[in-house]
Each structure stands twice: as C-alpha cells, then as structure tokens.
Symmetry: C2
Subunit: 490 residues, 2 copies
C-alpha cells in the first residue's frame, strides 16, 4: 500500500491489494466534500473510471464517486510521463482507482460536476475491471420506447453504425450489479429504500410498534388463498408466510395496540405479469380501532400523501425522482384530500356480481377519477365478502358485503385492507362457510378468545408502490434482485 | 352500538359487535390523556379488565389500557343498581370493556396509576373473554428462580395453598398472546423493536442505504456452512437465505457504498440451546472501506454504545428496561471506549489450534475483561481463516489468519464481521481451497470482476442482542413468536 507518509515508488501503477495492512492516515474526500474544497489544495479520492479518452498527450477520464461524475485530466509534463498517460488511458471502464489531484476551474458538459475538473497528480489502480463488460452504463441509462425489444447483443453492429443501443430487461436483470450502477436504476432503489423507511417513520410517529413475525409457518396454509411455498421443517410440514396477516393480528391481541412490519412475503403463484413477484417486501400494519375501518384508511391516506410530499419536495429524493424520469418519463401524481374516499359507496364494486375488479376496469376507473376529480389516489370500499379473505369483518347491515377497502394510485391497486373479525365464534363461522377446518388454525382463533379488541389493518407492496409512483412499466425494476417464476438469480 | 348522541337503553350490558356501523363521535382517552384530564370531567376509555373484586355493594376493577393499570370502582347508588354491580363483577378477566367515568383522587397501591381511581358511570362489554384462561397474567409476571421447572398445571393446587405459581417456558410460548400481555414480556418486545430501529437509525445517519435482499436463493447453498432449508421453486432447487451476505456484498458492488438490512435469516440447524433459533432477524451491514476492517468495527462499536445510551437513559425505553429487570434481574452493561479493542492481538484465539472459541471460553474471557478493564463490550480480531467463511479477506502478513472480528457483550458473541475478498481471482482461489465449485456461484463472483471496491461488514442477531442486553436466560423470550427445531407455532 502506498501511503502519504511513505515514499511512493511511482506516481502511478497497480496498488497492492487492500488487505487492512495499515491504518494509513490518507483521507478520501466524498463527492460533496470535493465540491466544497478550495482550488489549489491537493486531495485524494477513490472512484470508478466511467470513461477514458486519450487525445495525443492528454487523457480525459470520467470518474464516478457516490453516483456523481467528475472530469479528470492528465497532461504530459515533467512529472506526467508518456508511460503514465498510457497507463491511465488503458484502465478498463468501471475499475476502481485512487487519485491524488487538485481542482481547476473548467466548463465541463459531459459530467454532473460542470464547473471544475480534477488535474491528476497520482493515480493507482485499486481494482482492475475486466476489459469487456456485459453491458455498458451508457447503454443501460438510455431511454427508449423500444427498450424491451432490443437486446444488448446487437451492440457489436450498433457500435459502428448507430449509437442507439438499448439494453433489454433480461440482460439488465442478469447483470443487475452493473445495471444498478446506471443513474436512474440506482435512483429507483434509493427511492424504494426511502418508501419503506417513510412507511415506518409515518407509523412509528403514530404509536405503531415495529414487529417481526415468523416467515416459517406451520399448521394450515389456507390464509389468503394465494399459493404457498411448502418445505420440510425437521420432519414437519411448513410453508413460507404469504403475508404477516395472522401474526400481526395476534400481535395486536398480545397488547401491542398498533403494530407494523416491513418484511418479505412469498407467493408461489406462477404469474408472468409485469406487476407480480414471487417474493416482495410487504408494508403491513394492524391497529385497534374504536369503531370503523375508516380509521385504518386514514393511516393509508396519510402515509401516501406524506410520502409523495417527501419524494417530490425534499432533497435528495426529489433529484432521484427527476433522475428516474429522465429514463422513464411519467406525470407526477396528484393526491387531493377532498377527493379521497369519493367512491365510498358500495355500488361500484358489484358490477360483475361477485368478482374482483379487473386490471382494465381499475385503470379505466383511475382515468375517470383523475379526469373528474383531479386526484390519482382514491379508495374503493365495501367489497363483496366472497372476494375477500375469511378474516374480513362482514358489514353489519349486509353480511354479503365486507368492511374492506382497496387504495388505488395511478389506476393501480396499491393497498388492500379491512376491519378484521375479532370474535372467535364469528371467525369459526366464517372459516366453516369457506370449507376451512378451524382446528387447523387453533392458536390464531384462540387469540380472540381472551378478549378480542376490534381492529383493522392493511398491507401494501413496497415494489408495487415504488413502481406505481415512478410510473415504471415493470415491477422488476423496483426490486433490487427480483424473484419471479423464472428468475432465482442473481 | 351505544352512541353518546343516542339514548342508551341501559347503563351497562353487552355491546353490539363493533362492525364499523357508524362514525360515532365518541372519543376514547389514552392512558396518558387520562392522566392529564382534570377531575370531574366525564370521559370514555376502552380497556381490558385485568381483575375484578366484588365487596358487598362495591366492585373494584383493575383496568388496563396501553399497558397501564388503573383502578375503577362502582358503588351501589340510585343509578348503580345491584344488577349493574353483579354484571361488573362477573366480567371475565381480559375482556375488553368501554367505560364512561370520572376521575376521583385516591391512594391506590395495586395499580400503576396510584393517585386517582375511576368512578364508573356506564360500562359495556365489547368483547367477553373465555371464563378460564390458560395462564394468568399475575402468574406470567412473577419472577422466580425456578421458573423453568414448575408448570402452570400446578395452579389448581397452588391457588388454595400457596400463591407462588410460576409459568414455565413451554406454556408461555404456547400461550404467547397472553404471555406477551404481562408487563415484562411486553417490555422485552418493545425493547427488541427499538433495537432494530436503533440499528437502522444509527446507520442511516452515516449514509447507509437500507436494502431488501431476496430470501429465496438459487444456485449453491454453501455460503456459510450453516444448514439450510431447501424447497422446490417451480421445479428448480431453491433454499432460504441463511444470511444476506452475498447479496449485501453485491449491493455494495452495485454502487451503493454503504448498505444495511434488517430482515429474517433462516438456519436449519438442529440446535436445542438457549441461544439459537431457526429463524431470527439479522441486523446486517456492508460498507466500502478505505483500508481496514477497523472501519466496520467502528460502526459496530458506535451502534452498541449509542443503543445502550438510549436504552438506559431515554424514556420510555429506560422504564421498559426497569420493567424487565423486575422479573429478570441483571446488571446494567458498561461500555468503555478506551477498553474496546484491547484484545486486538491474535494470540487469544489460537489456544486450541484451529477451532472457534467455545461458549465457556467466551464467558470466561468476558469475566476477565469485565474485571480487569471495567467493560462488558470488547472485540476479538484476526481469527484463523479456517474458522471463518470463504469470503473473509486473509491477512496480508499471514494468509492463515483472516481480517475478521467478533464483538462480545456480557461474555456472549453478539456480532461477527470481517473485511471481505473483493478480488474475483482470490475469491475463486478461496472457494477452491474449501472444495466449493466456483461455477455454483458465478453471478456473485462476477460482481467483483467489474471493479471490486474494498469492503467490510458485519452481522448481528436482533434476538441475541436483545437477550444479551437484558440478561435473559433464553433467546426465545426475545422473539415474539420463536421458531426452534421443535416449535413452529403459534
């Protein structure tokens, strides 16, 4: 390792592999620290080489650190030898380098940093990338109408003739580590990360206790009707939780009045759509209510409004939203409080008798509401009991209807919730009416025998919500390492 | 439903089941709002009946709301009939009731609220508990040396002769919903909830991005040596992640310089000990480093110090810690910065040649360090490579040693971390030396081929950490619904 307090054999070269050799005093600046540094001071940065271009006796590098690109330049001089120029020009893209340099005012158009460049004094290669990458960041970052139809394999031809190479989704997901380095995809994941945190923060501020329920489940697997992944558990039959539903209700019965969970849920459904995953992150909450599931709807609405406010109006989130929109243009969402809940009459779900709303009908409804009421967010309530799970509380006035709600954003269902049955006898009745043997879920039923407090709750999908807010056309783009019936890697 | 704006047929009785009938204007006070209310004002609360005692023409109830107990009383009068007294006295324990009443100054010794009681004006039963409970809260709350030896089944005899009934662990866990209503067990889970949040908050403030890695894994299952749960994934072989290790490293390579995750990890180990679970919550982070794994140790130390500070010195956490200590007495931990890292020489791990530290040796070491250096927190570093996973970076000076560390608290290992190998060739070499076929984990290896930045990380177990801080003798007490080789329910 070359340290500042040791003589350096060369001004450039391969660095010995970093292996915790020393507690060296070298301090690397972050991109924001670099911004704040006065000209003339020498500094160190560690960055990736995004591009390099040799022009006679000059090398221009595009360096990337913390997602920010800055131009670096070497000019042949007494200290900068021809060998050093050659070394620099031959560093493969995406390699990690240590650079000592100084800031010089300049007008740069090809980088995020536009007002200065870095004049390189020393440069060492920390980790050399393979010379050929499976995809190029500039290709991964290119917006395209046809981005799902053209494969990256066409690049060889394209490079010579036309520059409009795009990367298809399969290639992106196969090479996810590189794909996520492109600005918009990196921003999508930072936004997704915030969505989960915003959910927890909003609920924690309202007295919700964060819980962690088991994903390994025994007993019956009939909870919601969704297909489950079975597995062997030390000789017993087990399965992966398709939601924290039963346990979050049990947590409320355990003396935690309001609970929330952010955790994985598993669906063994062979759905090959652009908005389903076999593993996703559930945003779940459950709460005691005084009287009505409207109390849970208030929580959902408050969260969505707060989240949109943060994403659109606070930094650095707003910049990330803009970054994504460069590649995936979409309209910003409107969420008018006065319009919320405007479909709260039961007429609108019963059109086709007993079935759930179809995806097309959802979209159509979304368009009508958006046009008429200038909001992209609304609820539909009081679904027929037949299309809701057994634990949904029936309406007091019409037992064939349930005290349930779905929330819609941009014409997509993003949230499903309801008042739950808190009476063990009614629960047993509901199970039997659906042909489910109550003895298969006795501990769950028992938890309502020791005084069942009225409660309601809801669940959202982190990736679905992120996708919908950003107007992405595929949910896989909103999952870091997505899982679908055909994808279990990387 | 009886509403304030409707005439009430009676001053007491069974309430119609809450089914979102109305958006009634009745407001229920929380326990803290009740505290702040002036005497004389009439109010509503919804609470559980923890105890009831009839004394002639008087009923005394212990009501519990948000974990706080308050005494309520009814005295026979013109409005309080004998029927009302009888009704009140016969409400089973743990039932949920709506009470309208007024505060009256009183000295109460048997409740948390000691300065006033509630004089009941109206009372309705919202949800009636079964008359016989599988365990009583007062039994569940009783501290006992022998608490794991005596079964709750002895209560029948005990009730008459001796009051010192205790509840054994099996009964507790079988009846977890009731057990968690007891003050110390409720507090344990609230503390556990905070530990996870404190981890995320500490790291988020230091630039760590929260990620969600897939729990469904394909390819090789050799990651850490721990046994895995296999399952069928649409005809392919899959298994449950035994840690987010590989994916969190890939996330760092994806352009997220510092990442963290709080999520479930699965271990199919048939360990029947007091400190292992088959499913627990992992607190994981991974970060780019300038030079040394000491940078990751700083994060671990900073987190533990901050966490203890919060638990011991901020409300309501400190009260929860005190509540737990009533039932599970233990010494508070000391964490002296100057003593940290004092065993940072490799001598101490090599005593028995190639094996890891034994549990007994860990405890002994903890005692010695505590006595000599007045700290309950320390690191051991530079474990032999043979006892660490394949992805651990070997030491530059001695390849048989690794750039690794464990953190100890109260003589228990609570954290394991290391610098990781960021060079794909060295990684392949390490895999081969352990007899693992590199082709089985190609996407992981590939992620270091596109410029591998030096990085380190660590993982902690949420339940283990909670258990250790609180000095509990069994990790199951620190898990809401624990999973061990014999327990998959509730």
């Amino acid at each position: 390792m070359f340290c500042d307090n040791q003589p350096c054999p060369e001004l450039f070269g391969e660095m010995e592999m970093v292996k915790s050799q020393s507690a060296c005093t070298r301090r690397y600046l972050s991109s924001s620290e670099l911004d704040g540094l006065p000209e003339g001071e020498s500094f160190w940065i560690r960055a990736r080489v995004q591009q390099s271009r040799v022009k006679g006796n000059t090398v221009f590098l595009v360096l990337r650190l913390q997602g920010v690109t800055v131009q670096a330049a070497l000019f042949k001089s007494d200290s900068v030898t021809k060998d050093m120029i050659r070394f620099c020009g031959s560093i493969p893209r995406e390699s990690v380098v240590d650079v000592q340099g100084g800031k010089v005012a300049a007008t740069v158009t090809s980088c995020k940093v536009t007002t200065y460049e870095v004049h390189v004094q020393r440069i060492y290669c920390v980790s050399r990338a393979a010379p050929a990458l499976p995809l190029l960041l500039e290709d991964a970052a290119r917006p395209s109408e046809a981005r799902d139809n053209v494969s990256v394999e066409q690049r060889a031809d394209a490079d010579s003739e036309q520059r409009e190479v795009v990367v298809n989704l399969e290639t992106r997901l196969n090479e996810r580590v590189l794909d996520l380095r492109s600005p918009s995809h990196n921003s999508i994941m930072r936004i997704q990360s915030h969505v989960g945190q915003a959910f927890r923060n909003f609920l924690a501020a309202r007295g919700f206790v964060e819980i962690h329920t088991p994903k390994l489940q025994g007993g019956s697997s009939c909870e919601g009707g969704a297909a489950v992944f079975p597995l062997d558990y030390f000789g017993s039959k087990a399965w992966l939780a398709q939601s924290p539903q039963l346990h979050k209700q049990m947590a409320v019965m355990s003396g935690f009045e309001r609970v929330m969970e952010v955790g994985p849920v598993f669906r063994a459904e062979s759905s090959h759509t652009s908005r389903h995953l076999c593993e996703f992150v559930g945003l779940d909450f459950e709460m005691e209510i005084s009287e009505s599931y409207a109390e849970a709807m208030d929580i959902v609405e408050g969260f969505v409004v707060t989240l949109l406010e943060e994403l659109y109006h606070s930094q650095p989130l707003s910049s990330h939203v803009d970054e994504v929109a460069k590649q995936y243009p979409c309209k910003r969402l409107r969420c008018r409080h006065e319009a919320v809940d405007l479909l709260n009459d039961r007429g609108c779900t019963n059109e086709d008798g007993s079935k759930d709303l179809s995806t097309q009908l959802e979209r159509l409804l979304g368009e009508i509401v958006a046009e008429k009421h200038e909001t992209d967010f609304f609820f539909i309530t009081d679904f027929p009991s037949g299309v809701r799970p057994f634990y949904s509380m029936p309406s007091s006035s019409d037992p064939s209807s349930s005290n349930s709600f779905d929330a819609y954003l941009r014409g997509q269902e993003i949230c499903s919730g309801a008042q739950r049955i808190h009476d063990s006898s009614l629960l047993v009745e509901s199970l039997k009416s659906r042909g489910i043997d109550p003895s298969s879920m006795q501990p769950y039923i028992n938890s309502f025998k020791y005084g069942g407090s009225p409660h309601a709750g809801a669940g959202l999908g982190l990736e679905r919500l992120t996708m919908t807010i950003l107007g992405l056309d595929n949910i896989r783009l909103a999952s870091m390492f997505p899982r679908d019936p055909k994808r279990l890697s990387p």
